[in-house]
Amino acid sequence: MPERNVVEAINNALTEEMERDPRVMLLGLDVGRLGGVFRTTSGLIEKYGASRVVDTPLAEASIIGASLGLAVSGMVPVAEIQFLGFTAQAFHQIGPQLGKYRHRSRGRYHAQVTIRAPFGGGIRSPEFHSDAVEAQFVQSPGIKVVMPSNPYDAKGMLLEAIRDPDPVLFCEPDRLYRLYRMEVPDGDYTVPFGKAVVAREGKDVTLVAWSAAVELCQRAAAKLAEEDVEASIVDLRTLVPLDVETLVNAVAATGRCVIVHEAPLSAGFGAEVAATLAEEAFYDLDAPIARVASWDIPFPPASMEHWYLPSVDRVVEAAKRTAAA
């Protein structure tokens, strides 16, 4: 079976889906001639032409607004916002417009739009490029928020996103883009939304994460194992829909939970996870829920980002404290 990294998995998904469904088109800044700033769309304009792989003007609101109109016309647009932090300039077209279009039209119109957006720290990118603002879109009913953490899921969840009749924000962990390869089959498969996965089994403490933070938790869990603390890891995969059942069962199994995310602590999606556990798993908890997140300050200059982002040491420390409590 072929091995692919996240960039290759995404490129493979887009290629196969454009081949399968002639309605699928890509649009965004630099997605055509350059193949995307991370090369996720490399080679596609050559295969499918400039009318299906479109270099748009530098204007995020119209990339999303036009995608909505394209969807109404019968196309299946996959829009790229070059970095999730840049969605601020398209926020109105995403949450209030795309998210509500089916509802506002009382079901007459669908908004089958996928928005791909790389995000996250750890790659020393310039200002505004690293912001983990996924929780903003959880507060936008109608939008599904999808956070793959590995190459296999990236392909399967992207295919699921493109085919989902509802609008999907597909957040790509740019730190993992070329970190490693894993088996990613050729051909069609999808990873359903709303199905979290236990990415590692362990009896002492449950780490809950999504996107690149899952990889961080894997490293932390390996280190914890050296100190005889066995951590399990729940990869939520999608924030909307949220798989409450898998989450609750995995936390109840250890009675201890540490939530890890790159977004700032306050009102990050970890707060929703903690509140859900308080409602659904309170009597199974043996220790207070801990959160390891970025600080409640702006993303700092790249040279300081390792002090800002959750680290292996911070996760290990929180997990040991929680396991011992």
Partner: protein
């Protein structure tokens, strides 16, 4: 003001010297009927709103030529309208049944009152200019699929200050999509006058910055509005790309039923536009041709008024909302959490 403002029919009901009417007499009588429907409907539902039977409403009073004349250039079978919110009779003429819209204003927001299948109209938009990038995408997609369709997107002088206006017109120019941007410059964005909206002498001039033509028309002259719209639709259909039409008119009513223009309106400006009323102008013209007399005009008004009454009655008879209907049509594939919340709501509300 642009170098030329297209006008054919003068406020006194006489054609400008050398000008030819853009509509034949039968078509003009149809246009008059639509304009009267717009006006009489507005007058009647404002009354209903004051009685608490109708929602917040933005009338098209004074803008009837602009609203009706623009939409008459479209073919409802193949063309699309992307409205803002003050173009009611444009979308009705295009096929969205007036009783369904009326029912919505009367609180009956259900699937039964949505835009019917086959009617090429998008939902009204009150987040101004947000509809424009969407309209461009629609026109773009129709073009990519080889459909012989033109999109007419409405905007106002106020909405043109939004960033989405710029992004949409820019993209439309680059992709050369079949679209007409129809701006009703009614001089007001609630209380903010046109002079505080932009320093441009004419909004139509902005089109040059996007690489397509802009036209300024007397928006209270149905012939001029229709002529400009027909030409813009022709260009779009021929593959020549977008046009921006600035239709200079005046909001004779109010922003909406919560507004009170006496706090800010310029009396002289209003009086000036009163003299240029779009309906009076057509009536004078038709009378001068001997095509309309007092009796016939009265009959027409009575017919239209009866139609408005019938529409309101039909709307009142539409089924009402179910409380849990608010959960409908948010997602095609709803998250389990939302379904659970709906169950919870049903339980608490006794609405199974």
């Amino acid at each position: 003001m642009a170098e030329t403002r297209l006008m054919t029919l003068q406020p006194d009901g006489k054609l400008l010297k050398g000008a030819r009417p853009s509509m034949d007499e039968e078509f003009l009588l149809d246009a008059l009927r639509w304009m009267l429907l717009s006006r009489l409907y507005d007058e009647k539902v404002i009354g209903l709103q004051r009685q608490g039977r109708f929602g917040v409403y933005s009338p098209g009073l004074g803008q009837e030529a602009s609203i009706v004349g623009s939409s008459m250039a479209l073919d409802p079978e193949r063309d699309w309208i992307v409205p803002q919110y003050r173009e009611l009779m444009a979308i009705v003429r295009h096929g969205y049944p007036l009783e369904k819209i009326t029912a919505t204003y009367m609180g009956k927001t259900t699937e039964a009152t949505r835009i019917p299948e086959g009617v090429n109209v998008l939902p009204t938009q009150v987040a101004l200019a947000a509809q424009l990038p969407q309209a461009v995408g629609l026109a773009w997609g129709l073009k990519l699929q080889g459909k012989d369709a033109v999109v007419m997107a409405y905007i106002g002088d106020g909405g043109s200050s939004e960033g989405d206006f710029h992004e949409a017109l820019n993209l439309a120019g680059v992709q050369k999509v079949p679209i007409v941007f129809f701006m009703q410059n009614n001089q007001w964005a609630i209380s903010t006058p046109r002079s505080l909206q932009s320093a441009t002498p004419s909004f139509s001039l902005r089109a040059a910055g996007y690489g397509f033509p802009g036209v300024e028309v007397d928006g209270n002259d149905i012939f001029a509005v229709y002529q400009a719209a027909v030409e813009a639709v022709r260009r779009a259909r021929a593959g020549d790309g977008p046009t921006l039409i600035e239709s200079v008119t005046y909001r004779m009513g109010f922003h909406n039923t919560t507004d009170n223009p006496s706090r800010y309106e310029d009396k002289e400006q209003r009086a000036d536009f009163e003299r240029r009323d779009p309906i009076d102008r057509v009536v004078r013209y038709l009378r001068s041709l001997g095509l309309l007399d007092e009796q016939r005009e009265d009959n027409l008004r009575a017919e239209v008024s009866a139609e408005v009454d019938r529409v309101i009655e039909a709307a009142a008879a539409e089924p009402g909302v179910r409380p849990d209907g608010m959960f409908d049509n948010v997602y095609e594939r709803p998250p389990a959490r939302v379904l659970k919340q709906r169950e919870q709501f049903r339980g608490s509300n006794g609405n199974a």
